[in-house]
Subunit: 207 residues, 3 copies
Amino acid sequence: VGAPIFPKDRIFDSTPTGVVMGLAWTSLGGVSLFIETVAVAPSEKAALRCTGQMGDVMKESTEIAFSFARRWLHEHEPTNDFFDKNQIHMHIPEGATPKDGPSAGITMTTTLLSLAMGKPVRQKLAMTGEMSLTGSVLPVGGIKEKVLASQRAGVDTVILPVDNKRDWEELDDKTRELTRVHFASTYRDVFDIAFSEDKVVSAARKA
Amino acid sequence: VGAPIFPKDRIFDSTPTGVVMGLAWTSLGGVSLFIETVAVAPSEKAALRCTGQMGDVMKESTEIAFSFARRWLHEHEPTNDFFDKNQIHMHIPEGATPKDGPSAGITMTTTLLSLAMGKPVRQKLAMTGEMSLTGSVLPVGGIKEKVLASQRAGVDTVILPVDNKRDWEELDDKTRELTRVHFASTYRDVFDIAFSEDKVVSAARKA
Amino acid sequence: VGAPIFPKDRIFDSTPTGVVMGLAWTSLGGVSLFIETVAVAPSEKAALRCTGQMGDVMKESTEIAFSFARRWLHEHEPTNDFFDKNQIHMHIPEGATPKDGPSAGITMTTTLLSLAMGKPVRQKLAMTGEMSLTGSVLPVGGIKEKVLASQRAGVDTVILPVDNKRDWEELDDKTRELTRVHFASTYRDVFDIAFSEDKVVSAARKA
């Protein structure tokens, strides 16, 4: 009932609260995809439900992201009890495309914090990176394909793991000129870029 | 016990509250099918049960539809606590035919809202489209076969994803003359057509 | 455990409350079988347990039947809280014979209502038909074999889906003379025949 469709690169013109663009790497090349996180209803305890044909590794990434985001929020906004009071649902379209791997870690965490804080991330931003439970950002594959996919999607800023710096430096000059890159070694770096004012981002430009 | 039967195209003369016609695409061509949603009994918390030999992707579609419908209702009819007070059951006949894929997303969401608001959708309407968790309507396959199936079922109006516009335009003139089409980019568009007065729908005619 | 036994055609001389004869279609021909539903114990919430080596489609049929029967009872006997106060068990003998398919839908629903209302169905009655969640009766296979099986079991009245009318009409005159047939398009039709006085049934005779 309905054939799988090759994912299109943009489904949002501007990303709302709780939605962050990630970058994936498939046998057909890189693709951008939005991770969507919403509060479904009030709840008496923290609860996260996930859809989008996620494989086992990716499901664990959602758990890591949820644990990390709850701790982060507790530390940085101690009076914010959003995660304890809401049933949360995270989805990655297209619904029929199986997805797996840990590289959406920082993106998932960011959707959760965006939702809980009620702040959208800066526009035209995409990110990729595995995250450890204590917030280390670990390198991932497919950097070239992912950067190209982000450019097709109209993105001008990407966040990459610091240990992927060499992959970035191997890209040709033309590609690197089209994208502002930030390297993250911990989630703190990701957070500062994602939720910063544009002014700060510009100052931090590296390439 | 009982051989599978080729689905017939109509089982309702007029669709009641909670029932909306979807369109599916099989190896044998397109078929129309009714998605039925009912409130079984009062419940102390939100609960959705599904039957109809749904595959994994389609089951996730029901969860996305339920999350979205609950949020939509909360936003648009804040005093309507229907979803928090009822045990809901969604079924897609024929019960013996395995079904899968994400393209029933907008139809499922519409059955839930129809039920919760106590309003049937406009008659002779069918729809197809994947839905993301935040309400983007994503393209699906089999447009030609689905439109033909809707015509066999006596439907005069269909809702298609905006990114399937090209598929519609490739249909021959005869086919397009028989059906009024509406293209949806977000669920807002679907809602406005499904629950509009006929007058408004006519004014919005496109082909 | 235990070899499959060829189903015998009658295990009840007269059907008690909660028991209704269904008709199945196997590679060996048609068979009649009794669906049995009993209240096991008081319960604080609605609960249905099923046995009889039912396959996935048939299990879903029990859920559809239960949802439908609860809604029907709520609408037609609003003070009858039988389903909310009892743990219910539905079984289809022979226990070792695997069974599947949706065609027992109307029979299952009728056993549940018979039990809840405390009324047996009329005697010498059998029925077959898939049921949708909102009560449409959908066509099934094996009409000829099922009618012959009902006659072997001493049945004089059968309820068939209206969309199987052509199958009935293709039977030879001799077969049709032996059985009074009623065609159902919604569960309302099934209910009226199953729980009617004989007088009414005779008047409604069609063939």
